[in-house]
Symmetry: C2
Subunit: 518 residues, 2 copies
């Protein structure tokens, strides 16, 4: 493995009448002769004036036995600082999944590869808009707003570093490396770049592969280097490429589908021979965003639903009173409502079924069918419709891409659903409502926070940056919006599980079993 940083222990020759080379030369010669550098032809080892400012004291304090901390700057190596004595055993690095909602940071031992701690916070950018688009508009033509968002992002990272430091008693601020995986807008906000191109045609952004920079340049109390995982396009950012590193999708023989549903929906289909990628608006509803009583998966959220003797039973996170329903709860609920006849194939409530009630709707003069999934909490027809539209959008992206290359779900060897959503969802329920394809359940995989997993890998092995760039070079980007038959496919996918029931034999079987029972 090739790290981004190196800690090199040096026993320097003590200055004498015979050897009075300047410290810079003395250090450089010792470094060039040291293990990791002797074996390679580094373009350069740069000993900046800043790195020499306390060097003499440190050499004297360590009796000329010091540890040099170096970072790869993209082309060669830069000395960050010296430390007295041998500190090579203490070599730590940071990686972060810079999500639009949540920022998750991890501290890793770079000698062992072990993840020592993890912390997360809400992205402070939320103060300027829940969704990315609001934030982009906030910064449009306002460099000072861009600076504000940049600062808030840096402060988020800074506070995570502080918490990790308190928790582990490891000085995170002296880590030489921070790897960032995030979508294209997040990377633009972090670096203080104009993000409007992420949203506006022709989608020419500022950068998809930022050069490494010093943490201090971003306003962090961190003199190490910040490396961003490169992205592929405006809507297919470094978080997805990081997910490719996490799953190893681009090296696999089997055909894989990678679906990340977060604020947006991103999709990659491919293997070691080909890679197709695309993105679309397929996110928030799946996470409970558009639903009347939708909420994030935290205490008080209904995350599982079953029907027993015609009655809905809800499981509440943390026990106690239910306050709303999260993504996995919604999937469960719709699946159960469908299997137990509350809903037909089109996702319409069956008024004759006991438990379906008519309530005032969103508009004053409207009424809507609904069910009470927990005391005082109702799931409406309009919630169902919204959710099915979104699941149809996500599934249609997959279907469309498979059609494009003449494949069917039967050809898929691995179907990854990344993100918290994929982790908590019940596979059976997801297949039942047609959110997951009806394939061997072992092929349905939840890599969790794939962006963070990829960032971990990248943190430990610098060569994965070339891998990432290679993946990007191989990827074909599919613009779904531009596709004519996309809408037709989507309408078909709005049904539960799908208009084409042949694609869902296990669901058909379940329905038949239920029918037999009743």
């Amino acid at each position: 493995m090739e790290g981004w940083s190196r800690k090199v222990y040096l026993a320097l020759p003590v200055p004498s009448e015979e050897d009075h080379r300047p410290l810079q030369e003395r250090l450089l010669a010792a470094l060039e002769d040291s293990g990791p550098f002797r074996l390679e032809r580094a373009a350069y080892i740069r000993l900046t004036p800043a790195s020499l400012q306390n060097a003499q004291e440190i050499c004297e304090a360590g009796s000329w036995r010091v540890t040099a901390v170096l970072c790869f700057d993209g082309y060669g190596w830069e000395l960050l600082r010296l430390e007295p004595g041998n500190t090579a055993g203490k070599h730590y690095g940071l990686c972060v999944d810079l999500g639009s909602t949540t920022i998750v940071m991890e501290l890793a031992d770079l000698n062992t590869g072990e993840i020592l701690a993890q912390e997360s916070i809400f992205n402070p950018q939320i103060n300027w808009g829940e969704d990315i688009l609001s934030r982009i508009f906030y910064t449009k033509d306002r460099p000072e707003h861009r600076k504000r968002l940049q600062k808030a992002t840096a402060e988020g990272l800074q506070s995570l570093m502080e918490t990790l430091k308190e928790k582990t008693e490891i000085d995170t601020f002296s880590c030489p490396v921070l790897i960032v995986a995030g979508n294209t807008a997040m990377i633009h906000f972090l670096l203080g770049l104009d993000a409007f191109g992420v949203f506006q045609t022709p989608y020419a952004v500022q950068t998809l592969a930022p050069e490494p920079c010093k943490g201090t340049e971003l306003g962090l109390s961190f003199d190490g280097f910040v490396y961003c995982c490169p992205g592929m396009a405006n809507y297919l950012g470094g978080d997805i490429i990081s997910g490719m590193l996490a799953t190893g999708l681009a090296d696999q023989e089997e055909i894989c589908v990678f679906l990340d549903v977060g604020t947006n929906g991103e999709l990659v289909v491919g293997n070691r021979d080909f890679l197709l990628a695309g993105a679309g608006a397929a996110g928030p509803a799946l996470e409970g965003g558009v639903v009347h009583t939708g909420m994030r998966a935290k205490k008080g959220a209904v995350d599982q639903v079953t029907v027993e003797n015609g009655k809905l039973k809800a499981h509440v996170i943390g026990g106690g009173e239910a306050k709303g329903i999260c993504g996995s709860g919604i999937v469960d609920l719709i699946a159960e409502l469908f299997l137990n006849g509350f809903l037909d194939l089109r996702g319409q409530f069956q008024e004759e079924v006991k438990g379906v009630v008519r309530l005032p709707g969103r508009e004053e003069d409207e009424t809507e069918n609904a069910v009470e999934y927990a005391p005082g909490l109702y799931f409406y027809q309009s919630d169902i419709t919204e959710f099915l539209k979104t699941k149809a959008a996500a599934m249609t992206m997959v279907e469309y891409m498979m059609n494009l290359i003449g494949l069917t779900m039967e050809d898929v060897g691995r179907f990854y659903v990344a993100g918290a959503f994929g982790t908590h969802i019940d596979k059976e329920a997801a297949v039942t409502i047609g959110l997951y394809p009806d394939i061997d359940r072992e092929k349905l995989l939840s890599p969790g926070n794939a962006s963070l997993r990829g960032a971990e890998k990248l943190l430990l092995d610098r060569r994965l940056m070339d891998k990432a760039k290679d993946i990007i070079g191989r990827m074909q980007y599919v613009q779904f919006g531009a596709v004519e038959d996309f809408l037709h496919l989507m309408v078909a996918a709005t049904a539960i599980p799908h208009t084409d029931l042949n694609q869902f034999p296990s669901v058909v079987k379940k329905l038949e079993e239920r029918r037999k029972k009743s």
Copy 2:
């Protein structure tokens, strides 16, 4: 000529559906295809996140016609910023002679090579000691004092940039380049490095060839790069190497002597075939530093002295009342006193000569011979003795080095005396007292502020950095302190002009002429 910076005008393709590359890629491709970069294989062109922060606005403001400002960072090129439209015609750079007493900065037009303006100030470090040694001791083991001196030095540069900006209405702070020539201690102070090694054996300093750094890293409001002229040894710094670039000494066929008398005395003897260098304490007395009424060459200083009819006549800078005597005045005075019989060969006042008076000396119980060189201003025997010791030190360095390689003054083709001292001194008087050798007067040259002249050259042609490193590699450093017969030689050189009168035929001739007259 190869500059340190480049301003490259680019007509960028406007982003479109067909070409929606990120701005970073768009810029890089255009740069790689532009004149100066197309012709070479630059190691890299680095487009940092910082350089892209306002790039979109600037591209739009300039209708995608922009000028890229790039700097050589020692290995490759870094984009500093974009400017809207074509600003390549406005390309300016700065160079500075960072002296321990005076800092002189110049602004140059990098397109024409013309020096547009010059400004100088006293070095703010003077607040922490008149001489370098006091400043070194002030910073010893006190990193916070080192920081203070660093800051003061940067503030000095900053104020010069401000004055130059006001004077020329050119934004000096947007210059991409600042070249610094200074002695080893000055460079250490500028970069915030521990300078104690300059003074203490074994003279292992922090650096003699600092890596380029950003002005902002030094606390300047200047995002361009700062390049320091490299030095050869603790007492033979970048100011002398810069002097080599200024005079072209290392390329000449004739044997040259280069003597710089400032706070210290530095010497180079050589030509294109060999280079010997050394340094010694030969400075302050020559500039009037140790003399009772010595002062710098400014208003009120006696700078020329003649004897008419046995009486001393003094010329005062700026007219008016004399307040003291500067270096060139002292040389004139001693030469005239000698030629007119006030002083013997050993530099002793002749008490029988009219005008020599006996006055209370420095110690309470002492008296001293002296002359009144201007109303109320006396030049003492002890002043003469001090001055002759110093001139002997300077001349002995030259003599010793010539002996070392078996040469005499007759072999010297060019004898450079750099610095303000060399510029204002009367050549004849200097030969008379044995400060200059008695050679063809046309061979006695005053390159003025050679350090600044070399910095100007370096500013205009980056390849001279290699030249400087080549010169340093070829130089042999002679430690005068370590030399046994140095003291013997020095005693002989304390006489006026020298114990060996054969070396000064023109002075012997003058003495004979005077004797005939009287």
